[in-house]
């Protein structure tokens, strides 16, 4: 079928790893922010909502540049993380994961927020009268009921992270084996003579992966909501 070269496989494997790590790290933050936006009342909520959605409307190269300034080795956040935890983002695959996570974040938060807003709060009251403390109510009632939204958000974020290009290449460049994802590899192949075939193969991979993520989102979402409407 598709006869990928080792370099192309590396790009595919790297893309999947970056997208998985980005989504896994983004998820707890996504649930927390989604919950704040859906339930909490606080000063500056509109600002937080705007900040979360900013990567969706900003040119990706701007997001990448801001990440470079803040999360670089000498940046305010990047410097702190390096000094205290030895974490390096700049020009590493971890930085690519950070950029992808930030770009996918709005797509993660939105369905989670909508799902949390749609939950019948009276079920949470019922759980409380049955002896569940607020944390148990959240874990045993709120989260399971929000599951279709969480799944949708996770897969959208994953698909977005998989295809991220602009912010990633600005922040961590395009290093084969380290930060060269499928998108970056396609871009590279298109810059060199006779690169068309390699680029074409990766284009097919990108289409297949994106399509699979969308179909999985649809299927899992249906299954999760079917649980509430019978077996």
């Amino acid at each position: 079928m598709l006869d990928l070269s080792p370099a192309e496989w590396t790009a595919v494997e790297l893309s999947l790893r970056i997208a998985l790590v980005a989504t896994a790290w983004a998820l707890p933050f996504g649930i927390a922010i989604g919950w704040l936006l859906a339930r909490a009342k606080f000063w500056g909520k509109t600002v937080l909502d705007g900040l979360v959605h900013l990567p969706l409307v900003l040119p990706p190269v701007v997001t990448g540049y801001l990440l470079l300034i803040w999360f670089g080795r000498k940046g305010p956040i990047g410097g702190f993380l390096y000094d205290h935890f030895g974490v390096i983002f700049a020009f590493r695959w971890t930085g690519a994961a950070l950029a992808s996570g930030v770009m996918g974040f709005p797509l993660l938060v939105r369905p989670i927020r909508l799902a949390l807003e749609a939950i019948d709060r009276r079920l949470e009251d019922a759980a409380a009268t049955l002896g569940a403390n607020p944390l148990l109510v959240f874990v045993t009632v709120t989260l399971p009921l929000a599951l279709p939204g969480i799944i949708a958000g996770v897969l959208l974020c994953f698909a977005r992270a998989l295809g991220e290009f602009g912010a990633t290449i600005t922040f961590v460049s395009n290093i084969p084996g380290e930060t060269q994802t499928i998108s970056a590899a396609i871009y590279t192949f298109l810059q060199i003579p006779d690169g068309d075939a390699a680029a074409g193969r990766l284009v097919v991979v990108a289409i297949v992966l994106s399509l699979a993520a969308l179909i999985a989102a649809e299927w899992l979402g249906r299954r999760a909501s079917a649980r509430f409407h019978g077996e």
Binding site: R122, A126, A127, A128, T129, A132, H229, G230
Partner: protein, 225 residues
């Protein structure tokens, strides 16, 4: 012996709720027209609504006291609550719904008690179903079982028959009467239908426009429909 002593005030929009009564064991009906504040009152007993002033004491335990700034959260009150619309958890099976209270309080399984309640309410054959697949009457029976199995000190029933059609109402009442006669749990039964109250209640608190109009026995229903 006094089980529940309550003296609360609460402003609810245009309605001023100012209520004071005590109940002993048995089934006490909170009887009155819609909008009299019945549901708000049971919500305060359960801890879902905070009174502006007053106190609520259950079995010598202060659940709420505005003056002493005591307000026990609902999960620590151990009061069973059967809601008008059942409020079964849609993502759990009937068995998991019934087991929920026990799991949340970390008590060990008690198969004898589980079987006793399930057979009392006739819900044994439903254990593996999802709430969506139950009829209205079945749903309410499961809701009653779920509240009973948390071993409550007091059981609140807020118009448990209101969401059912006439045929299913008749299906539930005999179970509630059995519950009254077999279980030693004091109950507060909210209703605006005198015929229902006559069948189940042992004493009556009549609410009207946010105030207690009368307390006493079933004779209070003599002129009510």
């Amino acid at each position: 012996m006094i089980v529940l002593a309550l003296e609360v005030e609460k402003q609810l929009g245009a309605l001023t709720l100012a209520v004071r009564f005590q109940i002993a064991g048995g089934v006490t009906a909170l009887f009155g027209p819609s909008g009299a504040g019945k549901t708000s009152l049971v919500n305060m007993i359960a801890g879902l609504l905070k009174p502006d002033r007053g106190s609520i004491v259950l079995d010598d335990i202060t659940l709420f006291d505005a003056a002493k700034a005591v307000n026990l959260p609902p999960h620590r009150r151990r009061i069973g609550y059967v809601f008008q619309e059942g409020r079964l958890f849609p993502h759990l099976s009937v068995r998991q719904n019934l087991d929920y209270g026990r799991r949340m309080s970390g008590r060990p399984r008690d198969p004898t008690e589980f079987e006793r309640v399930a057979s009392l309410l006739g819900i044994f054959h439903l254990l593996h179903r999802r709430p969506r697949l139950l009829s209205g009457g079945e749903r309410q029976r499961v809701a009653i079982g779920r509240a009973l199995l948390m071993q409550p000190r007091l059981l609140l029933l807020d118009e448990p028959l209101a969401s059912l059609d006439a045929g299913h109402k008749g299906e539930i009442l005999p179970y509630l009467v059995r519950l009254r006669d077999e279980a030693a749990i004091p109950m507060v039964y909210v209703s605006h239908i005198a015929a229902e109250v006559r069948q189940i209640a042992t004493s009556v608190v009549r609410l009207d426009d946010g105030c207690v109009a009368a307390t006493g026995g079933l004779e209070l229903l003599a002129d009510a429909r």
